[in-house]
């Protein structure tokens, strides 16, 4: 017979329904409410300065509630804690610290650059069947990121040990870009627009149209 404590552990709600983590927005809202209660809504600068350097680096809106983008990828790592350290150190991501979820079987974190976001978690069949490139030896996706000052970004990434797999160079469509692998082999494409483009959507369609290799 199963031990009574073990039975109790088994009916823990998030074990019965482990499928989805809570919405990180809940924590973002909770934090924003706490800060406005503490410092008053009129004093966002104080809140951001005192609370976390993350907010200061996180571009616009110290007190303004940032919303999650409609689409963001989730990447899997054998060692998601190390990945979090690397991505913030080498690539300049800023963690939504208040959203971090720590479980005995893995951490979830949300990282931002500009208005974009990625989520990272532990790899494994039980974690939505997502695997680390280290374990499968292949990639099926790449994350594209726009940054400011691509040269400084590149130097920092290289100094922190990112494996550069495509050199920093200016491309005919007006981007300066490079690609790098993180320690578990996820591939990242970093770019900055360096030539003034017409203020129109469809960046990649100028001139002779989109060549097949442009997106890969």
């Amino acid at each position: 017979m199963t031990d009574d404590l073990e039975r109790l552990r088994r009916v823990r709600p998030d074990r019965l329904l482990p499928d989805d983590p809570p919405d990180p927005e809940t924590l973002v809202r909770g934090k924003a409410r706490l800060m406005s209660a503490i410092t008053g809504p009129a004093d966002p600068a104080d809140a951001a300065g005192a609370v976390s350097p993350a907010d200061a680096a996180g571009a616009a809106g110290a007190a303004g509630q940032r919303r999650s983008p409609s689409i963001y990828p989730r990447l899997a790592y054998r060692d998601e804690v190390a990945a979090l350290g690397f991505l913030t150190r080498a690539f300049g991501f800023v963690e939504r610290r208040e959203a971090r979820m720590e479980h005995p079987d893995g951490m979830l974190a949300w990282l931002e650059i500009g208005d974009g976001m990625v989520m990272i978690g532990r790899a494994g069949e039980e974690h939505h069947g997502l695997h680390s490139p280290l374990d499968v030896g292949a990639l099926t996706a790449m994350v594209n990121v726009r940054v400011h000052d691509i040269d400084a970004h590149y130097r920092r990434a290289e100094a922190e040990g990112a494996r550069i797999v495509m050199p920093l160079e200016e491309m005919f469509w007006g981007d300066r870009r490079y690609e790098a692998l993180d320690p578990e082999g996820h591939r990242w494409h970093f770019a900055e627009r360096v030539t003034r483009a017409p203020d129109q959507p469809g960046e990649f369609t100028g001139g002779g149209g989109h060549t097949g290799g442009g997106g890969s």
Binding site: T2, L8, P13, T26, R33, M35, A37, V51, M101
Partner: protein, 201 residues
């Protein structure tokens, strides 16, 4: 080397905004705790309450304490106790889920027909709801939150010996309740019978 929670909270007496660091460190743990215990919709409100209360009482937090987590758990557990109806609803909803759910990683369960196992889990959940409040708090802080005896004592403001005795009384009661129900084979549990309609309240 991160500053201890005690130092951060002491600092927040001068610079209130620094208290946000305490939310960063423990907000998600407390949200998870509350989501386990009350209606998910209510959990968000209670999370706000926990930190509002903690902020107001921050001058009582001892500076040399490393972690504010047990203290925050204590505030949260107290709020859960005051929202007993929501807690009961949460347990009823869980019992319905567990009655249907087959936990694939459980060797004990494979020995039993899946449907019977589901009924067993529903009974465990049912039994949780019938425990005396004080025992339920200690049992769930121990089994679900994985706090130590010392942390539970500090959270609830009782001696460690009290934690031990409540835990062992609670365990015995839970085992008895579940055993009793184990033997009542074939008697469907009225509130948890697999009728979804109208089972929300």
């Amino acid at each position: 080397m991160e500053e201890s929670d005690g130092a951060v909270i002491a600092g927040s007496l001068e610079t209130p905004g620094a208290f946000g660091i305490i939310f960063d460190r423990h907000g998600s743990t407390l949200l998870r705790f509350l989501t386990r215990r009350v209606d998910p919709a209510e959990a968000e409100d209670l999370l706000g309450e926990v930190f509002r209360i903690a902020f107001e009482r921050r001058s009582t937090f001892e500076r040399d304490r490393d972690s504010a987590r047990p203290w925050l758990y204590g505030i949260a557990a107290n709020l859960v106790a005051k929202h007993h109806r929501s807690e009961s609803r949460r347990l009823r909803a869980m019992a319905r889920v567990s009655a249907r759910r087959v936990l694939p990683d459980d060797p004990a369960e494979r020995a039993v027909a899946a449907a019977d196992a589901g009924v067993l889990w529903a009974r465990v959940v049912d039994a949780i709801g019938t425990l005396p409040e004080a025992e339920r708090q200690v049992l769930l802080l121990y089994a679900w939150e994985e706090l130590s005896y010392e942390e539970i004592a500090s959270a609830l403001g009782v001696p460690v010996g009290t934690v031990r005795s409540r835990l062992s009384r609670g365990r015995a009661r839970l085992a008895a309740l579940t055993r009793e129900r184990d033997t009542a084979v074939g008697v469907p549990l009225a509130p948890f019978a697999p009728c979804d309609a109208g089972g929300d309240r």
